[in-house]
Symmetry: C2
Subunit: 121 residues, 2 copies
Protein backbone atom coordinates (compact mmCIF):
# COMPACT_ATOMS: atom_id res chain seq x y z
CA UNK A 1 0.00 0.00 0.00
CA UNK A 2 1.47 3.35 -1.10
CA UNK A 3 1.77 6.08 1.51
CA UNK A 4 -0.36 9.10 0.68
CA UNK A 5 1.32 12.00 2.39
CA UNK A 6 -1.67 14.33 2.05
CA UNK A 7 -3.02 12.13 4.87
CA UNK A 8 -0.66 13.90 7.29
CA UNK A 9 -2.33 17.19 6.42
CA UNK A 10 -5.82 15.72 6.71
CA UNK A 11 -4.84 14.21 10.06
CA UNK A 12 -3.72 17.62 11.27
CA UNK A 13 -7.08 19.10 10.25
CA UNK A 14 -9.58 16.43 11.15
CA UNK A 15 -7.68 13.99 13.36
CA UNK A 16 -9.66 15.03 16.43
CA UNK A 17 -12.77 13.50 14.86
CA UNK A 18 -11.14 10.05 14.70
CA UNK A 19 -10.76 7.68 17.64
CA UNK A 20 -7.52 7.83 19.63
CA UNK A 21 -6.53 4.44 18.17
CA UNK A 22 -7.07 5.56 14.58
CA UNK A 23 -5.07 8.72 15.23
CA UNK A 24 -2.24 6.70 16.77
CA UNK A 25 -2.02 4.30 13.83
CA UNK A 26 -1.97 7.10 11.26
CA UNK A 27 0.65 8.96 13.26
CA UNK A 28 2.90 5.90 13.53
CA UNK A 29 2.53 5.21 9.84
CA UNK A 30 2.69 8.73 8.36
CA UNK A 31 4.41 10.96 10.86
CA UNK A 32 6.80 8.48 12.52
CA UNK A 33 7.27 6.49 9.27
CA UNK A 34 6.87 3.08 10.91
CA UNK A 35 6.05 0.14 8.61
CA UNK A 36 2.85 -1.90 8.88
CA UNK A 37 4.97 -4.78 10.26
CA UNK A 38 6.50 -2.55 12.94
CA UNK A 39 3.15 -1.17 14.05
CA UNK A 40 1.78 -4.72 14.06
CA UNK A 41 4.62 -5.93 16.32
CA UNK A 42 4.29 -2.91 18.68
CA UNK A 43 0.52 -3.16 18.99
CA UNK A 44 0.22 -6.94 19.10
CA UNK A 45 -2.28 -7.18 16.23
CA UNK A 46 -1.88 -8.66 12.74
CA UNK A 47 -0.31 -6.70 9.91
CA UNK A 48 -3.62 -7.02 8.04
CA UNK A 49 -5.47 -5.62 11.06
CA UNK A 50 -3.21 -2.56 11.10
CA UNK A 51 -3.62 -2.13 7.35
CA UNK A 52 -7.42 -2.27 7.55
CA UNK A 53 -7.56 0.17 10.46
CA UNK A 54 -5.35 2.64 8.59
CA UNK A 55 -7.39 2.31 5.39
CA UNK A 56 -10.63 2.91 7.28
CA UNK A 57 -9.23 5.97 9.04
CA UNK A 58 -7.90 7.36 5.74
CA UNK A 59 -11.32 6.92 4.15
CA UNK A 60 -12.93 8.84 7.01
CA UNK A 61 -10.46 11.71 6.64
CA UNK A 62 -11.05 11.90 2.88
CA UNK A 63 -14.82 11.87 3.39
CA UNK A 64 -14.50 14.74 5.84
CA UNK A 65 -12.47 16.77 3.34
CA UNK A 66 -14.93 15.95 0.56
CA UNK A 67 -17.73 17.36 2.67
CA UNK A 68 -15.99 20.32 4.28
CA UNK A 69 -13.15 21.29 1.85
CA UNK A 70 -11.37 23.10 4.67
CA UNK A 71 -7.92 21.81 3.72
CA UNK A 72 -8.56 23.11 0.20
CA UNK A 73 -9.48 26.52 1.60
CA UNK A 74 -6.23 26.58 3.58
CA UNK A 75 -4.21 25.52 0.56
CA UNK A 76 -5.65 28.46 -1.36
CA UNK A 77 -4.66 30.74 1.51
CA UNK A 78 -1.13 29.34 1.53
CA UNK A 79 -0.76 29.78 -2.21
CA UNK A 80 -1.91 33.40 -1.97
CA UNK A 81 0.49 34.10 0.91
CA UNK A 82 3.39 32.74 -1.15
CA UNK A 83 2.45 35.13 -3.97
CA UNK A 84 2.31 37.99 -1.45
CA UNK A 85 5.80 37.14 -0.17
CA UNK A 86 7.15 37.24 -3.71
CA UNK A 87 5.59 40.65 -4.32
CA UNK A 88 6.99 41.99 -1.05
CA UNK A 89 10.42 40.82 -2.23
CA UNK A 90 10.01 42.85 -5.43
CA UNK A 91 9.02 45.91 -3.39
CA UNK A 92 12.03 45.47 -1.14
CA UNK A 93 14.54 45.00 -3.97
CA UNK A 94 13.11 47.77 -6.09
CA UNK A 95 13.16 50.12 -3.13
CA UNK A 96 16.81 49.26 -2.46
CA UNK A 97 17.62 49.91 -6.10
CA UNK A 98 15.89 53.21 -6.65
CA UNK A 99 13.95 54.55 -3.71
CA UNK A 100 15.55 53.88 -0.36
CA UNK A 101 12.43 54.82 1.55
CA UNK A 102 12.60 53.62 5.14
CA UNK A 103 8.80 53.45 5.33
CA UNK A 104 8.55 51.23 2.25
CA UNK A 105 11.34 49.05 3.55
CA UNK A 106 9.64 48.58 6.91
CA UNK A 107 6.21 47.96 5.41
CA UNK A 108 7.60 45.35 3.00
CA UNK A 109 9.45 43.63 5.86
CA UNK A 110 6.24 43.54 7.87
CA UNK A 111 4.28 42.06 4.96
CA UNK A 112 6.89 39.30 4.61
CA UNK A 113 7.02 38.61 8.35
CA UNK A 114 3.22 38.46 8.65
CA UNK A 115 2.80 36.18 5.64
CA UNK A 116 5.62 33.88 6.81
CA UNK A 117 4.12 33.62 10.30
CA UNK A 118 0.75 32.68 8.81
CA UNK A 119 2.40 30.05 6.60
CA UNK A 120 4.18 28.54 9.62
CA UNK A 121 1.04 28.25 11.75
CA UNK B 1 -32.93 32.94 23.27
CA UNK B 2 -30.27 35.40 22.02
CA UNK B 3 -28.95 34.92 18.49
CA UNK B 4 -25.25 34.09 18.45
CA UNK B 5 -24.03 35.26 15.06
CA UNK B 6 -20.76 33.33 15.24
CA UNK B 7 -23.10 30.40 14.51
CA UNK B 8 -23.34 31.58 10.89
CA UNK B 9 -19.57 31.20 10.55
CA UNK B 10 -19.57 27.80 12.25
CA UNK B 11 -22.40 26.72 9.97
CA UNK B 12 -20.35 27.77 6.94
CA UNK B 13 -17.42 25.68 8.20
CA UNK B 14 -19.03 22.58 9.65
CA UNK B 15 -22.61 22.67 8.38
CA UNK B 16 -22.02 19.68 6.11
CA UNK B 17 -21.57 17.51 9.19
CA UNK B 18 -25.08 18.31 10.44
CA UNK B 19 -28.26 16.74 9.09
CA UNK B 20 -30.11 18.57 6.29
CA UNK B 21 -32.88 19.44 8.76
CA UNK B 22 -30.46 20.93 11.28
CA UNK B 23 -28.78 22.95 8.54
CA UNK B 24 -32.14 24.23 7.30
CA UNK B 25 -33.25 25.37 10.75
CA UNK B 26 -30.00 27.21 11.43
CA UNK B 27 -30.15 28.83 8.03
CA UNK B 28 -33.71 30.04 8.53
CA UNK B 29 -32.87 31.35 11.94
CA UNK B 30 -29.43 32.89 11.38
CA UNK B 31 -29.08 33.60 7.68
CA UNK B 32 -32.69 34.34 6.74
CA UNK B 33 -33.44 35.92 10.14
CA UNK B 34 -36.76 34.13 10.64
CA UNK B 35 -38.15 33.97 14.18
CA UNK B 36 -38.73 30.71 16.05
CA UNK B 37 -42.50 31.29 15.62
CA UNK B 38 -42.13 31.74 11.86
CA UNK B 39 -40.03 28.59 11.45
CA UNK B 40 -42.51 26.74 13.65
CA UNK B 41 -45.42 27.84 11.43
CA UNK B 42 -43.55 27.01 8.18
CA UNK B 43 -42.40 23.59 9.35
CA UNK B 44 -45.53 22.58 11.21
CA UNK B 45 -43.76 21.75 14.49
CA UNK B 46 -43.95 23.49 17.85
CA UNK B 47 -41.93 26.57 18.64
CA UNK B 48 -40.26 24.60 21.45
CA UNK B 49 -39.39 21.83 18.97
CA UNK B 50 -37.67 24.34 16.68
CA UNK B 51 -35.87 25.88 19.63
CA UNK B 52 -34.58 22.51 20.86
CA UNK B 53 -33.44 21.46 17.38
CA UNK B 54 -31.54 24.74 16.93
CA UNK B 55 -29.93 24.46 20.38
CA UNK B 56 -28.78 20.90 19.66
CA UNK B 57 -27.34 21.86 16.28
CA UNK B 58 -25.53 24.85 17.80
CA UNK B 59 -24.02 22.63 20.47
CA UNK B 60 -22.75 20.25 17.80
CA UNK B 61 -21.15 23.10 15.85
CA UNK B 62 -19.46 24.44 18.99
CA UNK B 63 -18.16 20.99 19.90
CA UNK B 64 -16.70 20.63 16.41
CA UNK B 65 -14.90 23.97 16.75
CA UNK B 66 -13.67 23.06 20.24
CA UNK B 67 -12.10 19.92 18.84
CA UNK B 68 -10.83 21.19 15.48
CA UNK B 69 -10.27 24.98 15.98
CA UNK B 70 -10.40 25.48 12.21
CA UNK B 71 -12.50 28.64 12.40
CA UNK B 72 -9.93 30.05 14.83
CA UNK B 73 -7.15 29.24 12.35
CA UNK B 74 -9.04 31.06 9.62
CA UNK B 75 -9.68 34.05 11.85
CA UNK B 76 -5.94 34.31 12.47
CA UNK B 77 -5.37 34.19 8.71
CA UNK B 78 -7.92 36.93 8.14
CA UNK B 79 -6.39 39.13 10.80
CA UNK B 80 -2.94 38.74 9.23
CA UNK B 81 -4.29 39.51 5.76
CA UNK B 82 -5.85 42.72 7.06
CA UNK B 83 -2.45 43.74 8.49
CA UNK B 84 -0.85 42.94 5.12
CA UNK B 85 -3.37 45.14 3.27
CA UNK B 86 -2.57 48.03 5.60
CA UNK B 87 1.16 47.64 4.97
CA UNK B 88 0.62 47.50 1.20
CA UNK B 89 -1.29 50.78 1.51
CA UNK B 90 1.71 52.37 3.24
CA UNK B 91 3.99 51.09 0.46
CA UNK B 92 1.67 52.49 -2.18
CA UNK B 93 1.27 55.91 -0.59
CA UNK B 94 4.93 56.27 0.26
CA UNK B 95 5.89 55.30 -3.26
CA UNK B 96 3.51 57.93 -4.67
CA UNK B 97 5.03 60.50 -2.35
CA UNK B 98 8.69 59.91 -2.93
CA UNK B 99 9.56 57.09 -5.27
CA UNK B 100 7.18 56.68 -8.16
CA UNK B 101 8.55 53.26 -9.04
CA UNK B 102 6.17 51.43 -11.40
CA UNK B 103 7.44 48.07 -10.12
CA UNK B 104 6.74 48.96 -6.48
CA UNK B 105 3.32 50.28 -7.45
CA UNK B 106 2.40 47.10 -9.30
CA UNK B 107 3.73 44.80 -6.60
CA UNK B 108 1.83 46.69 -3.90
CA UNK B 109 -1.36 46.53 -5.99
CA UNK B 110 -0.90 42.79 -6.43
CA UNK B 111 -0.39 42.27 -2.70
CA UNK B 112 -3.62 44.15 -1.98
CA UNK B 113 -5.58 42.30 -4.67
CA UNK B 114 -4.34 38.89 -3.52
CA UNK B 115 -5.06 39.58 0.15
CA UNK B 116 -8.53 40.97 -0.66
CA UNK B 117 -9.40 37.96 -2.79
CA UNK B 118 -8.36 35.65 0.04
CA UNK B 119 -10.46 37.63 2.51
CA UNK B 120 -13.50 37.40 0.23
CA UNK B 121 -13.30 33.63 -0.24
Amino acid sequence: MAKDFSISMLLDFYGELLTQKQRDFLEYYYNDDLSLAEISANEGITRQGVRDAIKRAETQLRLLENRLSLLQRFDDMREGLTRIINCAKIVHEQNLRCGLSTEINEAAAQITATAETLLDD
